[in-house]
Subunit: 404 residues, 2 copies
């Protein structure tokens, strides 16, 4: 008998019919002899509806009240799923984040979990119940209702799986797993049967849309195996697990793409210690997150620094740099919104030479110019023109033997 945490996203519980289908699947799992803890997101677009109402009511929206409002969404879906499970003949009860013992800090709308006290869930399991838990929410040390931010329901599921020592955390979504590239970009993309936490994290960080970085990090830290699969086909999907020796056979696992960022270039930065740090402090103080950072080799006493930021932060980043331009004696500052990133991810890279060369050769054979490059032991990211991203991803997917 295994203990399985099953998390269902918004589209998976989008209407009454979908909820009944979810309940049937949970009941099948339970009748198969496993224990299940269900974690649910709010139904479909209900969160958007609530936010629209809030906009109509007031332009001032305290974050504490936003959290109170949005958590109504999971309350509705979890009680409906629980009713549907009762309709399947299961003993069941739903629990809010607070009742499930998800204790967070007081940072409303993006709270972090401080502690898990899932005694009521454990008790329910002992008594033969199938508990249904609201994703995305917790209760703060100030006893206020909090939400966990984007991807928060996945975090709830992983945290519960870790605390309950579950055998697996199944993430049900509207895609059938993790692919070697975005299937909308590369029609020949293959579903990966297995991927390591490290690879999944690199994918999440470079444009993979299935899982948020945060929940994968959490799962890795607590050793919770993830199984990403579809609530529409119910077929086996992709396992995200600790790296195994056999994984090294595939040099490259996936190609990801991301056109959500802009590139800021600061020219002629004097090559003095502490100067770049001063510039980045300025950006951090404005709440701007930098992603890729590249500094050219210094020549005749100055250097160029380029970094990427979310497109929405580009103008703020440019202005922040302009603000210290005279002080730091730096040169021209440019913001380029026309870039795209293409990334190779693969655990096998670290022990395989020649990947970078092959990547460059492939892009060169398509006349695609590389503007920035950044690597980790299992990833190579390149910045190219945004309009060449689709072509680059397809070419690399073929060149590295990933086509189905």
């Amino acid at each position: 008998m295994a203990l399985v945490v099953q998390k269902y996203g918004g589209t998976s519980v989008g209407d009454a019919e979908r909820i009944r289908a979810v309940a049937e699947h949970v009941a099948r799992t339970v009748r198969g002899g496993d224990q299940v803890v269900v974690v649910v997101s709010a139904m479909g677009k209900s969160t958007d509806d609530l936010l629209r109402l809030a906009d109509e009511v007031s332009s001032v929206k305290p974050k504490r009240e936003l959290d109170m409002l949005l958590t109504a969404g999971e309350r509705i879906s979890m009680s409906l799923v629980s009713m549907a499970l009762a309709g399947q003949g299961l003993k069941t009860a739903s629990f809010t984040g607070s009742q499930a013992g998800i204790i967070t800090d007081t940072d409303h709308t993006r709270a972090k979990i401080l502690e898990m006290r899932p005694e009521r869930i454990e008790e329910a399991l002992r008594d033969g119940y199938t508990p249904v838990v609201a994703g995305f929410q917790g209760v703060s040390t100030d006893r206020d209702i909090t939400t966990l931010g984007r991807g928060g329901s996945d975090v709830t599921a992983v945290a519960l799986a870790a605390a309950l020592k579950a055998d697996v955390c199944e993430i049900y979504t509207d895609v059938t797993g993790v692919y070697s590239a975005d299937p909308r970009v590369v029609p020949q993309a293959r579903r990966l049967a297995k991927i390591s936490f490290d690879e999944m994290m690199e994918m999440a960080a470079t444009g993979g849309r299935v899982l948020m970085l945060r929940s994968v990090e959490f799962a890795r830290r607590h050793g919770v195996p993830l199984h990403v699969r579809s609530s529409f086909t119910w077929e086996p999907g992709t396992w995200v697990v600790e790296e195994e020796v056999s994984m090294e056979e595939a040099v490259v696992s996936a190609v990801t793409d991301d056109t959500s960022e802009a590139k800021i270039t600061v020219a002629n930065v004097p090559d003095r210690p502490g100067l770049a740090a001063r510039l980045f402090r300025e950006l951090a103080d404005k709440g701007i997150n930098l992603d890729m950072i590249v500094q050219n080799t210094s020549e005749h006493g100055t250097t160029d620094i380029s970094f990427t930021v979310e497109k929405g932060d580009a103008e703020a980043a440019r202005l922040a740099c302009e603000g210290v331009r005279e002080l730091l004696e730096i040169g021209e500052i440019t913001a380029d919104l026309g870039i795209g990133r293409v990334t190779l991810v693969g655990a096998g890279m670290k022990s395989n030479a020649g990947i970078t060369a092959k990547m460059f050769e492939t892009l060169a054979s398509h006349d695609i110019n590389i503007e920035m490059i950044s690597t980790s032991s299992i990833r190579i990211s390149t910045i190219i023109r945004g309009e060449r991203v689709v072509e680059a991803v397809r070419a690399l997917h073929t060149a590295f033997g990933l086509d189905a």
Copy 2:
């Protein structure tokens, strides 16, 4: 500086515009120097929408889960009202029934309040906040979410007013107060400036639709003055208060009507001790609530017993009586769905003779036959044909000098 509990019903917070109007009124009250605790119902028809969703999802609906589902309604309205108050520049925070310390028994969908522990509300008031509390809900001694049943938001408001020792509990609704008769039946009906708890209870019990019996009882027991008024006109409405000497001047305060009941008549009940009790036990065991009960004077060893029940319970009541017909040696059992009740309510009745006579004379002059009669010290109820109710109410309203 007064402490005012203001309760807003579903139509009062029915949409964003109404919520903003409520926030403006609360802000006016606060700027006028009073402290306000706001209690809200779910928005308009949102409870019906949630129930419809539940029907679509499952025919099995555990009451614990129904309570979890429905309480999402007040969570949405209270956070929106709180945001609108923040938009008015007030310090504000919303609280669930659980956070407001409303401790109930475990009788889901119709829980009773066992204890009030409103420490967080008191703390919020001390800190200059205007708290917004979810009506209709509490937390059980089993730490589960409960609802208080029909009229539950009024009960929340009255219970909070009592626990906080508020100066008044204002019940905002879509009518401008309590009237001497239903204005849809009697166009000349007058709004009552003041009415006693006892009269209000009799009105609630006999067809008055503004307040539920339960919240009036609660207010009387705890001496909480109620002020029933409109959230559409904001004009002063009706005060429900302890009886005062001056009230006795008006002999009759109001005429109520009710056509929601049926009359069951059991003929030829042997006049032996314990027999009627046996019959009523049978009905009670089936969960059927009896309202008016009348037993005719016994003649030649048998008696007729008539009682009224909700129309929906009429057939079940008839069958229950049939079930013990042979055992108890009783006669024919009939159910009459064509009745109506007309009631005079007035604290002055108890010290005024001749009210019954005048009531009978008035009905007789309209050729309206009285089928049953039942009285208390401040009420006279008569059962007549349902189709004569409107005529009877108008005639009595005029005869007792209530016309505006």
